[in-house]
Symmetry: D2
Subunit: 368 residues, 4 copies
């Protein structure tokens, strides 16, 4: 329980960071969708460790295999099982973890909850688990690409205290991918990269904020009162390792405005009902309103740092732990494809729940 | 679909603001729990309109009835159905709403999704729906009270730009309830109340932030990887009307710190494993760690304002709408018991999911 | 938990037989469906006690109220709450039940599971609970009626050892309703009625078998591997009080045939792929194949009899109990609308799960 | 959707008969349970093809791998992923199936539902899918073995028209496994084996009935009104390929008795509340009553026969098909471990749902 997500387009992930591998089963994917291992690998490569000098140097090819549910290049409508072996174990680097709880990791809480844990690595709490989400997310993205005109773009808006200026235009995929930080403002990206390299050198880490924008979303997605679109997105984002906050539209700062300043007035733009402003962030009453959907996700600094820290051992005795091994000094750049994947999974699920109630999604196109 | 919440302690709410009433069915409540209508009414009265001069003057007694699941003062283990009639309709005040979409309300999105809506009021999107949640939350609170030593306290930390100073001690229920704003700092509360009355006079509205704190939570609650404790709380909070953000622990500001500043180091405090700081906010890896759980929820300013606003009608023709009727100039004070209720529902659900894996909750005590 | 049924068209029932009433919340009904209290009452009247001389004489008008989800005669797409008050309590008739367990009732098992029970009647285990199912089933039937050409017909095929001859033609609703037994063979019905009256006079009871037939079902309904159409039907039927068996198509007797006798060979009938025989009963591999769907449900004799029976009391002391009060000497005739309701609920749920994958159901027609 | 089963102890199966393999993810298994690949393999070997002369001669070692969720020989409390590669493809034997629908198989219905299918074999509809269920069932059996004293025994009661005499004693595992038919009456088993070999020689097939008995089940399992113990069992059994019927206790024949003959009177047997007879089959009102739980599952004759049969091709043109390849002339003997597995899965799920409400299951013992 707790390892599945989604109602009609549903993923179940499995795997520990240093066990036999990582995987996902996707149940509910419509039949006839053309999908290849290569398309999925592209997304996994964006998440993969060792992809640039600002990420962990752990060597994992993260080569995915589709074991079921796809036949002659198309989905069968049956569960799609995908898996990624763990190749670069190096568990010895983690030997101290067996006895000592790493601060701000999940070692202590997993031990408390389950009475045991796979101490050769982060186990199930490792961000490695998200590889399965990205593999399923790649299929969700393909569904969106063929079925409608929705565009999802996540990018790094802030690293530590370096924030990019507001960007009105919707950035292209290439612009985001043009630098290892995945910030579409090249000047800010350079500063961010510099900062990340600096903290790495100091054995430290930083966090940041990712902005996600979705355009061309039709009105009508979301299922109040509990499965509001933003509620499901909030859960999706807070289910990711290292996230500490979620806000949609005006978010926390929106509470600084008055109603007369915050309300999004309606207008008729070329025959279409639109809002003049978009402080709602594309959702009203839990349902998309046809404006751009945007939300922010906050990440804490990576818990693993290469400095000596006070901690306790399994018996509660105080001791110290010096972080070793390879880690990401800032997880935010690699989190971009993960957040896009979770967003795509939520959107496809809601398109399927909304099926037959609007014409904004053409399920026939999936089989073309 | 979309109107149920929880896995083992599960609520299903129903009702429109101007229909026959509002209600909830709670399935999964353990048998033998002593519960009275009065205990539930206490919580509903905290949410009730017209409770003070800073809330809407809509007259609703919100008198709850228990229709099933309770026998001789104790729960039977069967579904508990509760309902609250709608008494103060005054639908005429809403007559304009039939044709014109209220800005930043859900009129347009409900119309888009469902092709129709109950235009005599907010219908299902009205915050009136949360009365059902509060009724069920009162039972969840009773379960917590008898089964363990957990304390939940929500309070208003900010209204508009008025923020209370940080409060280290855990405020008492009476302190929070001592003023109509539900801010435990009396001086700040006075300023907040003044601000709310001022914007009401101006026909405007403001938002704010609620801080929720939970103490005495044992380690082990939460079910990774998707049903992390903070993920379920995030969903619960973002499923409430007018919420725009959620953050746990250090939240958005946590991303401004370095790992070496942010990590919560462990210590042994009188034989108990604790963290020296608590930037994690009581959860690590999606599981409670025994420290105080705290999170913030951001509310936008109330969408209903008594000013003329540009909008469109059902045919898309531009027009204006002047807000009428009674409304809350600031929903945050009345949202306090709602947030506490959702928190209690999430916690009881996770206690039940964790049952048998720890001794922190004594289910036998429920029947005492 | 355990009081909800369905995935996308989902009911949650509540209520004890002698509490405040009985009810149901239906979540997931498409918006725009025209529905009236009268249409629902028609079905409830078919289930109602006291409808003929062969049923219990308990007086219940079973008058249903729609409390939410319907506005101006059409569904809103929000939860539909319906309730039926309990009027004819007469709990005194049940006073002995407080101390003594009625044989083959659920008194002992509810007491064992929950540690308490509503001893003024059958409580939650009473067949009265099914009134909520029938109310929701009436809406499901309306969905089917408007959206497709499916016909459901259940009828009594056997009472005690009196079996009607095989009926090839699909009986009309009027034919089934022409007699109180709901057996479409008038001669057999007369014998059945006579038998029921005889056992009533003897203070005894009998069981029987209901055959359910569904025609015009398109191929494609059902979701293997677990949510096979027949698996969901089996669960639906076995969730009804007093049922002991379910079989689809050739059923138990099918195991007496060889494969060469049992297989349904395909033919092309006027351009349509059909099977020559239909031992499969309309499902193959868990999915409807376009042939008539048919299945049987077995009911045990009513547990309440007006004879002295050996039993034990709450302390385990052996004693006797003499059944009193009004009961159904045979539940099968009144179970016919209940089984039809459950069938309709399962079918609509599967039509919704299959939405967009076939054109056999026109969701647009629901709003006409 | 449709490929998961269970609420708290939940399996998700995946895989086609001729794709990359077959597998299962088990979510919700308590941590600390000792489990080995060997224990799981034992159950898979009971289901494996080619185990005796009366089963299909398809060569599959069905060697299972545990990929996650088990560490140092014990479960972690995280999802347990298991997989079994497909080794003996021989898809050429199925080449005709690409164009022609096999009678009473799922070729036509899968094609209708999904618009495509893996025509190199039965694909997802193949009974090979049940290997994943048996692997998970082996873990469920281990949970039962350590946590309580429940015994599950399924055996073949009938093959074609050969029925074993009633057996009062609870047969040992060894007695059931003593012959390839899995009928604990050696004389009847010999006749059954003879019959199976005879129909195989004739290129034909037969069906049969499996009786499942569970002893030492405490009262209190089952969650009315929908998740009754027998309702969940009925769904589990009807979700298996080739099943056509389910009955619990007196079943279909129970409807031939009068209430005065059918009711199970209570007695006090050595201080324990028991029933004198057991026509209820161990469940009353959907909840176990502490008596032996027993139910029967009916299987149709195997659809694959080595005879020429009339059918149609994908375009609807009438043609003939001659069954080829290796098949089971009677699936019933191999279905025994599958049914036991599904039974174990249902029981563990209900033990977990009932956790904390009774002491009949000692979850602490799982970790011993």
């Amino acid at each position: 329980m707790g390892n599945s997500f989604g109602t009609l387009f549903r993923i179940s992930t499995w795997g520990e960071s240093h066990g036999g591998g990582i995987g996902v089963v996707l149940d509910g994917c419509p039949p006839g969708l053309p999908i290849s291992v290569e398309e999925i690998q592209v997304e996994l490569d964006r998440r993969r460790p060792g992809q640039s000098k600002i990420t962990t140097q752990r060597k994992e090819s993260d080569a995915v295999t589709i074991v079921s549910g796809v036949f002659e290049g198309r989905t069968l409508g049956t569960p799609i099982a995908m898996q990624i072996p763990n190749s670069d174990h190096r568990s010895e680097a983690y030997s101290e973890m067996k006895e000592r709880f790493r601060p701000s990791h999940a070692d202590y809480t997993y031990q408390s909850k389950f009475g045991r844990r796979d101490y050769t690595g982060g186990g199930r709490s490792s961000a490695r688990e998200t590889a399965g989400r990205v593999a399923a997310g790649a299929i969700a993205k393909k569904v969106l690409k063929l079925g409608c005109t929705v565009d999802i773009c996540s990018y790094v808006e802030r690293v530590h205290d370096i924030t990019m200026p507001e960007m009105v235009e919707f950035p292209s995929f290439d612009l985001v991918e043009a630098n290892p930080v995945r910030c579409p403002n090249p000047a800010t990206a350079a500063l961010m990269e510099e900062r990340i390299l600096k903290v790495r050198k100091e054995g430290d880490s930083v966090g940041g904020i990712i902005l996600t924008r979705v355009r061309n979303l039709p009105p009508g997605l979301g299922t109040p009162v509990f499965d509001r679109l933003e509620a499901d997105l909030a859960k999706a984002m807070l289910s990711l390792p290292a996230t500490k906050g979620f806000e949609v539209g005006s978010g926390f700062d929106g509470s600084l405005l008055r109603g007369s300043e915050h309300n999004d007035l309606f207008e008729n733009r070329d025959g279409k009902i639109c809002t003049i402003t978009n402080r709602s962030g594309g959702v009203q009453g839990g349902i998309s309103n046809g404006e751009e959907l945007y939300f922010r996700t906050a990440f804490k600094p990576t818990a693993t740092i290469l400095q000596e820290q006070q901690t306790v051992d399994q018996e509660g005795k105080e001791t110290v732990l010096v972080g070793r091994g390879r880690h990401d000094p800032c997880v935010v750049p690699r989190a971009v494809p993960i957040i896009e994947s979770m967003t795509a999974l939520v959107l496809v699920d809601h398109f399927m729940r909304h099926k037959g109630q609007c014409d904004s999604f053409n399920f026939n196109n999936l089989q073309v």
